[in-house]
Structure formats: structure tokens, C-alpha cells
């Protein structure tokens, strides 16, 4: 059965980058901010307010959930870790597929025209 993720799509840039940053591993809030900055070469920076506003929405929708705390020395007790849910992973996949179509179309139309 093919699930319909259209109610969730398209993702906002902030949500897309948050999901992308969580695709590899569970991260805490500051880790998500750093990962987003790394993935975009510092071109897209999330502030804490934007991050947690989006995280709140994504968690309410069941796309992201809080993960069990990673036990490590010196870990600040205020840190909370977040992970993609199965639904979140599927939605991210659907969004990436949608963007692939967009990029394919864009490349096709932006290809330099041959002189006739």
C-alpha cells in the first residue's frame, strides 16, 4: 500500500533541514543546529527559537520524537535528544523524491539552448 504523505509536504526549509540532520543519528538541539550549519556550509543557520518551534510542530505530528538520553561523561542534564520516527523517515523520503522531480525539471528547463 502506498501511503499518502501529501498533507505533510512540502516541508518548510527549517523542517527539511532538521529532518535531514536527524536522518543519520539522534541529536540534541544544539547538535541539530550545528549539523544544519555543516550540511549547508553555514548558509542556513537555525536559531534556537526557530529550531524548537519546528521541533514542537514535528513532535506533535509524530515525525520526530524524543530519544533516550545518551549516557556520556559531562553530558549536560538540560540536553534532550531527538530522533526521526518511522513516519518521519518516510516523509523525508517523500520530500526528497519531490525535490528530485523539481531539480530534474529545473535542469531540463535551465539547460543552455543550442544555437539553430
Amino acid at each position: 500500500m502506498i501511503e499518502d504523505f501529501s498533507p505533510f509536504l512540502p516541508l518548510s526549509p527549517a523542517s527539511l533541514h532538521i529532518l535531514l540532520s536527524l536522518a543519520g543519528e539522534d541529536r540534541h538541539g544544539y547538535g541539530i543546529m550545528q549539523e544544519v550549519a555543516r550540511q549547508t556550509d553555514g548558509q542556513y543557520k537555525l536559531g534556537p527559537g526557530t529550531l524548537y518551534d519546528n521541533l514542537q510542530k514535528l513532535m506533535t505530528q509524530g515525525i520526530v520524537q524524543e530519544a533516550a538520553r545518551k549516557a556520556s561523561a559531562g553530558d549536560d542534564p538540560r540536553r534532550r535528544y531527538y530522533r526521526l520516527t518511522t513516519l518521519g523517515r518516510d516523509i523525508l523520503g517523500a520530500e526528497v523524491s519531490r525535490l528530485e522531480v523539481v531539480i530534474r525539471e529545473a535542469r531540463q528547463h535551465l539547460r543552455p539552448r543550442r544555437a539553430t
Partner: protein, 246 residues
């Protein structure tokens, strides 16, 4: 100092958001202030504050509706206090009618000097009409006084029958028609304000009461507004629940 300011910004967030994320946001501030710079983080905090209250929290609708209503009442009350003795503002009370008016009744039979006293007490209009006729002065209480914007109607009862008055306030003059079921007939009456302060007994404090009512309403409105905003501040109206693993 900037940390304190950021902490204060976080405290101003809606309770639900504050409880969930304020600790983490402060931790991020502590961790990233050196790299990101305090101004950027403070700006983000202000933007987040506006976003959470204006877009995410439903409580702003309730607060805006209540505040709008209370502001109207408050402005109306202050307007009454400032312009209460002018006919331009008749929001809560119609005090411009209060006072003593003198003039004449004109009918085909001739002109008769009269003096009208009008006032309000506890919201009720009362007054008297003194007619200086050929048989001497006769005083009648005004009955069924109705005041609506710049229009006033009342009647007086005499042994000869009732006389109905319809008049209009125009600045410092009060004029209109009268019609009697008795032998007085009908005609016009024209009065000018003689004294705004010499209002009839029992109604002398009418204007004072009006102002007192206006001030009381203003104060009550301000207190209610403060209580509502305070309760919104401390309670979360959102029913969102994050399904998270603690």
C-alpha cells in the same frame, strides 16, 4: 547581562513552550553565545517570543477580544469624564440635560414664562416645570421623562389634563412642541440654560454620580484586564501535547 536578558525573554514565552524548551534554549545560549554572538541569539529570542504568542498560542484571540472590549469601555469612561458636560459625547450618561432651563411656552393664547429643572439620580431622570401663569406660579413634576441622544420627551399632569412635551437639545437651548389634552392647547416651548449646577433636589449629585460611575467602570475594566492578562500569562490555553518519550 545578556544571559539574564535571554532568560527573561524565555520566561516571557507561553508556559507550555517555556516548560518544554526553555531549559534547552538557555543551554544552547550558553554553548553558542561565543560563536554566534549575543545579538543574533537575542534577536532570535524576540522573534520566537512573537511567533509563539501571535501564531502558536490561541490565547491571543481571547486576550485581544477582552482587551478590545475593555479598551472601548475605558475610553468611553474617560471620554465621559472629559466631555461629559458637552452634548457631543453621550456614551454612558446624558448629563447635558441636567440643570435649570428658563424660557417660555408659546401658544395662540400667548407666551408664558416657565422654568424647567432636570437632573438624574441613580440613573433615573427627574425634574419639575414651574409655570409663571396669570394665576401665579404652578409647579408640576415631570413624568415619563425619556432622553435619547439630543431628544427629550416628558409630560406633566394637571387637573385640566396631561401636557406632552417633545424637545431637542441644541447647545445651550432646549426647544420643541407641546400638546395638551386640556384647554391649554398646543404650541412651542423654547428654553435656554439658566444654570447647570442648580439642579433640582434629589438630582443635585447627578453629574457627580455620572463621573463616579465612569471612574468606577474604568477602574473595574483596568482591573479585569490586568487579571485576564495575568491569568493568560500563568496558564496555558493550548491543549497540544507532545507525544515524546521522557
Amino acid at each position: 547581562m545578556t544571559r539574564l536578558l535571554y532568560q527573561w525573554l524565555l520566561w516571557l514565552h507561553p508556559p507550555f513552550f517555556r516548560r518544554e524548551f526553555a531549559g534547552e534554549m538557555l543551554w544552547i545560549f550558553d554553548s553558542s553565545v561565543a560563536a554566534e554572538g549575543a545579538p543574533a541569539l537575542l534577536f532570535d529570542g524576540v522573534a520566537s517570543l512573537a511567533r509563539q504568542w501571535l501564531l502558536r498560542s490561541g490565547s491571543w484571540k481571547i486576550a485581544a477580544a477582552l482587551a478590545g472590549g475593555l479598551v472601548q469601555i475605558t475610553l468611553g469612561g474617560f471620554g465621559m469624564m472629559i466631555f461629559g458636560h458637552r452634548q457631543s459625547v453621550q456614551f454612558l450618561v446624558t448629563a447635558p440635560y441636567a440643570g435649570v432651563w428658563s424660557g417660555s411656552l408659546r401658544s395662540p393664547a400667548g407666551s408664558t414664562p416657565v422654568e424647567l429643572a432636570l437632573g438624574r439620580n441613580r440613573g433615573e431622570w427627574l425634574g419639575s416645570l414651574v409655570v409663571d401663569g396669570p394665576d401665579g406660579r404652578a409647579q408640576s413634576d415631570l413624568l415619563d421623562i425619556r432622553v435619547r441622544r439630543d431628544l427629550v420627551t416628558f409630560r406633566i399632569a394637571t387637573p385640566a389634563g396631561d401636557t406632552h412635551f417633545h424637545g431637542r437639545l441644541n447647545g445651550e437651548t432646549l426647544s420643541g412642541d407641546f400638546e395638551s389634552s386640556g384647554d391649554v392647547g398646543s404650541g412651542r416651548w423654547e428654553l435656554a440654560r439658566a444654570s447647570p449646577s442648580a439642579v433640582p433636589r434629589g438630582a443635585a449629585v447627578a453629574t457627580g454620580i455620572d463621573n463616579l460611575v465612569a471612574i468606577t467602570i474604568c477602574l473595574v475594566a483596568c482591573i479585569i484586564l490586568a487579571v485576564v492578562l495575568l491569568s493568560l500569562w500563568t496558564r496555558s490555553f493550548t491543549h497540544q501535547r507532545i507525544h515524546s518519550v521522557r
